[in-house]
């Protein structure tokens, strides 16, 4: 079970083990960088944020609690939150306009970006099983990094509806993927 190994590695990292940290990096750098890039878009900014994410993983490894979730979810949560927060703080400047001009990455575009990715295949299939509104709400929020209010504006539906669809969509996705198992 690779997840268990990753958890053990994080325990080593928490004790200051640089080799374990390098191993953690090798295992999760691609999902982290891919996620950050899909939200941030700008390549050099994405590298910058990815670096911040891993410094945070290093710094906070002792806070990882295997009882609360998988190591991958812990790292992905840090990565996504950092990416989104960076984008939102950049939005105070002219960045907002530039980003608005570039459409968010569609899930099939993401899906096609990497080959030999089994996760991608399953995620693609499970996303396909959602209603259109659920799928759009989930992909705009996760891959686009938009707030639910922004998603509501983009889709032209009430914010409350978007909230419900995001939750329902993610629950269906979780059940479809058997996430956490």
């Amino acid at each position: 079970m690779p997840g268990a190994d990753l958890a053990a590695l994080l325990t080593q990292v928490a004790r200051g083990d640089h080799a374990a940290f390098a191993e953690v990096y090798d295992r999760v750098a691609a999902p982290v960088f891919g996620t950050v890039r899909s939200v941030v878009r700008d390549p050099s900014l994405s590298e910058d944020v990815t670096q911040e994410v891993f410094v945070e993983v290093w710094r906070a490894a002792s806070r990882f609690d295997a009882g609360k979730g998988s190591p991958m979810a812990w790292v992905a949560t840090i990565a996504h939150r950092r990416a989104v927060d960076r984008v939102r703080s950049e939005q105070r400047s002219a960045e907002r306009d530039r980003r608005a001009a570039a459409p968010p990455i569609a899930y099939d575009e993401v899906a096609e970006a990497v080959e030999d990715n089994l996760d991608r295949e399953r995620v693609r299939r499970c996303l396909g099983a959602l209603t259109e509104l659920q799928r759009e709400a989930v992909t705009l929020a996760y891959y686009g990094g938009y707030t639910y209010r922004e998603v509501a504006g983009l889709l032209g539906v009430p914010a409350g509806t978007v909230n419900t669809r995001m939750r329902d969509g993610l629950i269906r996705l979780r059940d479809c993927l058997g996430a956490g198992s």
Partner: protein, 259 residues
């Protein structure tokens, strides 16, 4: 403020995908602390979100790893959270929004100084609350300072640092690395004569950036000043400058804090 706030529970999906902005996120996190079921649900949704992350996998540039290993080699790690340490739990923490543990308190002095730091924080918060409209501003444009202060105070990664100012006084910094913002306040700074002010600096690998002039002290408190655009590895400096502010420090730093 919107007239009607959504039911916290319906926000679990948006929260798990970071689709809540600052105030909504803070509100939901307060709700999470009281709702075990929501915490479990969010954990499950984070697992699903992690699969979305894996599906987006893309290899980063090779050079990143070496840069990163160099960076972590000089980065101190957080100690584990020690649960069931009643003393720490009951510590008088006026500025622990939503009961969240403080990030790190990095200070020369030890536990005794925590009280001083928290007192400074309490004063800072109090000052922030009713002086939000008139606080000093860093040069960067942005939303009103009251909003920025609230963002930092409610940030899940809130970190508090304290330090002694060389010429007298205590400085308190509340920082959110994620929001890349900090709130600075000082107590008991030596009064300055003539047209001289205390100026904050963000000092990183590049040039030092001015981060705001401290307003005139009121009741012994200087600040709060909000600084934005904090980068990893930055240090915060304080120096005495002409009232108009300087583009570069023109006098020695009287406080340097590693952020």
């Amino acid at each position: 403020m919107t007239a009607r706030q959504p039911e916290p529970h319906t926000l679990a999906g948006a929260y798990a995908m970071d689709a809540l902005d600052g105030p909504d996120r803070a509100r939901f996190e307060r709700h999470l602390e009281r709702c075990e079921e929501c915490t479990r649900e969010v954990a499950g949704l984070h697992e699903a979100a992690a699969r979305l992350a894996q599906a987006a996998a893309a290899p980063p540039p090779g050079a990143l790893k070496e840069l990163l290993l160099a960076e972590t080699a000089r980065t101190r790690q957080l100690p584990p959270v020690t649960r069931g340490a009643p003393a720490a739990r009951r510590a008088p923490g006026p500025a622990r929004p939503a009961g969240r543990p403080l990030g790190r308190i990095r200070s020369r002095a030890r536990a005794a100084r925590l009280a001083v730091a928290l007192a400074g924080v309490a004063a800072l918060v109090a000052t922030a609350v009713w002086a939000a409209g008139t606080v000093g501003r860093s040069p960067q444009a942005g939303p009103p300072p009251g909003h920025d202060i609230a963002t930092v105070l409610t940030a899940p990664d809130l970190t508090v640092l304290t330090g002694l100012v060389r010429t007298g006084g205590t400085a308190t910094v509340m920082m959110s690395p994620r929001a890349r913002m900090l709130v600075f306040a000082a107590a008991g700074l030596r009064a300055l004569h003539g047209s001289r002010y205390y100026e904050l600096w963000l000092m990183g690998p590049g040039a030092d950036r001015p981060a705001g002039l401290l307003p005139m002290p009121s009741h012994g408190m200087s600040g709060p000043v909000v600084a934005t655009g904090v980068r990893p590895g930055d240090r915060l400096g304080l120096s005495v400058e002409p009232a108009a502010g300087s583009r570069r420090p023109t006098s020695p730093m009287i406080l340097v804090l590693a952020l």
